[in-house]
């Protein structure tokens, strides 16, 4: 029972972290039609900057500074690079961000080396928030959820209550009209791209110390957020939220469970000998399969509901 509750909360916090990442990706994709392949690299950048700034001035300044720097970097990338590629079409934009992901990983390794860096959870947030019998729910996970929910609120307010949010929403479907009305659409794009990257950077600052901060972190989480976006439905923030939490839960629960077909059979009194042809298949535990579950979900979604959970547009 306590395992379920703790895992639910852990799954929720991981899912919300995924949402922080996939929401930025969805926003950028919806607004600009650009699939930012380097999005997870900005996440990595946020984590490393969080590490570096924490080391010198502390975690709390890092929480503010790192996303800002990442956001500025994103805006610069858009202004200098992406804008030049815009005229060549969406595939070129995607390829640009693809090349960028390589370069960013290499730059990070250039500066901080190839090994994981020790990015610690700040002392004041370290430790359990509460314990249920023997299992503890870390304070830091609760903090992550808080940050993610606050961020969600801020985005929602921004998009629906502010003038710039309305302009962004309009530029989504009618960029030429918006430009004719005097708004600077390229500047809006730069803002959205920078904003999306800042979100990824924020996720990095709070996720980098909860999980590991190393050059491979971008690749690990990168493909998962693609799955989130496709499963949730292209262009849908609500879908991304749903899919993030779903995948967060699935992965958190699966990793801890040792169930397999074999153990299920054993429960009903059947045992299978190792010589049986598909023994390996039957003996695979849920924990071993955990890494591929999001991708299996992707495949199933594509077969039965290609538009995604809450999809509104074709990719």
């Amino acid at each position: 029972m306590e395992f379920t509750v703790i895992s639910l909360l852990n799954g929720l916090s991981y899912g919300l972290l995924l949402f922080m990442l996939s929401s930025g990706l969805t926003l950028i994709f919806s607004m600009m039609g650009v699939l930012n392949f380097a999005h997870a690299s900005f996440y990595m950048m946020g984590a490393y900057l969080g590490f570096a700034i924490s080391k010198t001035v502390g975690f709390w300044p890092a929480l503010v500074l790192a996303p800002l720097i990442v956001g500025l970097a994103g805006a610069a990338v858009e202004r200098i690079g992406l804008r030049a590629v815009h005229k060549h079409g969406h595939i070129s934009e995607l390829l640009f961000t693809f090349g960028l992901s390589y370069v960013m990983v290499e730059l990070v390794q250039l500066i901080w080396g190839r090994a994981a860096v020790p990015y610690p959870i700040p002392a004041e947030l370290d430790g359990p928030l509460f314990t249920l019998y023997a299992l503890a729910f870390p304070m830091y996970r609760a903090f992550m959820m808080l940050v993610a929910l606050l961020m969600l609120l801020v985005i929602w307010l921004l998009l629906t209550r502010t003038r710039i949010g309305l302009v962004i929403q309009a530029a989504l479907t009618h960029p030429e009209t918006v430009e004719a009305l005097g708004h600077n659409v390229p500047r809006v794009f730069m803002l959205v791209f920078g904003g999306g990257c800042a979100l990824a950077g924020l996720a990095g600052v709070i996720g980098g110390n909860a999980f590991v901060t190393e050059p491979a972190m971008a690749a690990t989480v990168g493909s998962i957020i693609f799955v989130v976006v496709v499963v949730g439905g292209m262009g849908s923030l609500a879908g991304a939220l749903l899919a993030s939490i779903l995948i967060g839960m699935i992965q958190t629960f699966a990793v801890a469970l040792d169930w397999s077909v074999l153990s299920a059979l054993a429960k009903v009194g059947l045992s299978v000998s190792p010589e049986f042809p598909v023994y390996r298949l039957l003996s695979i535990t849920l924990a071993e399969v955990a890494p591929i579950l999001p991708y299996m979900l992707l495949v199933l979604m594509l077969i039965f509901r290609p538009k995604g959970l809450l999809g509104t547009r074709e990719g």
Partner: protein, 429 residues
């Protein structure tokens, strides 16, 4: 993707000449580059050339950007290595020269299987799905060591059975010629396919999927078929890779390898049939040779790729062809001065950037080995500011000259190309 379109079709004698030259190069290459290392390089290039051509069936010809093409070549490689092992142990026999076909059939089968799911969507969504599939297969490969060999992969011995006329495929030179033969067959086949109804309709689907629907074609079916065919040839390349290296591991089905073929194909040029061939050669050279010279080789490759995407999205092939077109129209020579100016400024920027990157790499990753590095034949002390100053100044000067000479070059370039367009337009009536 709106690439600048150019038409430059050599007359038919030219076409025969090109194919004959290709065959001649394939046959003569190992005689020109006969060292052991060169032979391995040539063999590797051969397999990657087939892989890149198969990849371009999707990207350049059908407009499908896949991040997971290594699935088909990798699975082909796994089936091939098992076929080799089975043949060696006499439980099932297939001559080594036909093993690539095993890989091809595996690639074809998985193309049918995975393609059914992946081609349900097109465009960006398809790209994302392809990444999901390769990660799925990669993760599975670590989960089923029985077939995939776990961390160490599956190894085999390509020398089995009786040698036919002295050919045992033990020596690298024999493997090279096997690869060359399959390369030639595959190239001819893929070239032929691009000139069939399916190939041409795939181009139409690339240019305008909606319009293709309205001329009677199910675009999803078209993309599915192209993926299956592409998987077949990717599988052949995987089979050859299994023969060449005698080991296949999870890396063969990784996203990293998929990314590499994308990089190579794009750099070569996706708009021309020979682009991927060029890209494979250059890509392998860069990867193998550059990685021996500097630790920053992947950074350079990534930057090179980004610059190509931004300034030459047609790849090296399009740069070559456009210059050929200028030469054919006698507009190349007048362009030379501004071209040289831009190129030399670009080279200055290049060298200064390399200096900065190498010095930074040395400082951050190799500082234990002292502070001096060898660069372009000179010794530079990274602890001293003189090296940094030179690099910084060269960079600034180079960028300034580049930006200034770029506008006049671009103007001259655009004017020359516009002139050619005018000539084409005027020549009709």
């Amino acid at each position: 993707m709106s690439l600048q379109t150019i038409s430059y079709s050599p007359i038919n004698i030219g076409r025969w000449l090109v194919w004959l030259t290709f065959v001649a190069l394939l046959i003569l290459a190992p005689l020109l580059f006969s060292s052991g290392g060169s032979l391995s390089l040539l063999s590797l290039m051969g397999t990657i050339m087939i892989f890149a051509l198969s990849y371009n069936m999707l990207l350049g010809q059908s407009g499908m950007l896949s991040f997971g093409h290594a699935v088909y070549s990798g699975l082909g490689a796994f089936f091939a290595i098992h076929a080799i092992n089975l043949s060696a142990s006499d439980s099932f026999y297939i001559p080594l020269s036909l093993v690539p076909l095993v890989g091809g059939i595996a690639g074809l089968t998985f193309g049918i299987l995975f393609g059914y799911v992946t081609t349900k969507r097109s465009g960006t969504t398809f790209s994302m799905i392809s990444l999901g599939i390769v990660e799925l297969v990669f993760a599975c490969s670590l989960m089923f060591p029985g077939f995939f060999g776990g961390e160490g992969g599956v190894s085999g011995n390509r020398v089995f059975g009786k040698a036919l006329m002295g050919v045992s495929f033990g020596p690298q030179i024999q493997v090279y010629y096997l690869i060359a033969a399959w390369l030639f067959i595959s190239t001819v086949a893929m070239f032929a396919i691009s000139h069939t109804p399916l190939g041409r309709i795939a181009n139409a689907v690339r240019d305008n999927p909606e319009r293709a629907e309205f001329i009677g074609y199910d675009t999803q079916r078209v993309r599915y078929l192209m993926l299956i065919l592409s998987g077949f040839f990717a599988g052949i390349s995987g089979g050859l890779s299994a023969i060449n290296f005698e080991i296949v591991s999870a890396e063969n089905v990784s996203a990293a390898r998929s990314g590499a073929v994308l990089l190579f194909t794009f750099i070569g040029g996706i708009g021309f049939f020979f682009g991927p061939l060029l890209g494979a050669i250059i890509g392998v050279l860069l990867t193998v040779m550059l990685s021996e010279i500097t630790k920053a080789w992947l950074l350079y490759l990534g930057l090179f790729f980004i610059l190509m995407v931004m300034y030459a999205p047609g790849g090296l092939a399009s740069i070559i062809m456009m210059n050929f077109r200028l030469m054919a129209n006698r507009l190349f020579i007048p362009l030379l001065p501004s071209m040289l100016k831009v190129t030399s400024a670009g080279l200055l920027v290049f060298f200064s950037v390399v200096m900065l990157i190498e010095m930074t790499y040395h400082l951050s990753l190799e500082s234990a080995q002292g502070t001096t590095i060898q660069l372009f034949g000179a010794q530079i002390d990274t602890a001293q500011s003189s090296g940094w100053l030179i690099a910084a100044v060269a960079f600034i000067v180079g960028v300034a000259v580049f930006l200034r000479s770029r506008t006049s070059f671009m103007d001259a370039w655009d004017e020359a190309n516009a002139e050619i367009e005018r000539r084409i337009a005027g020549s009709g009536r």
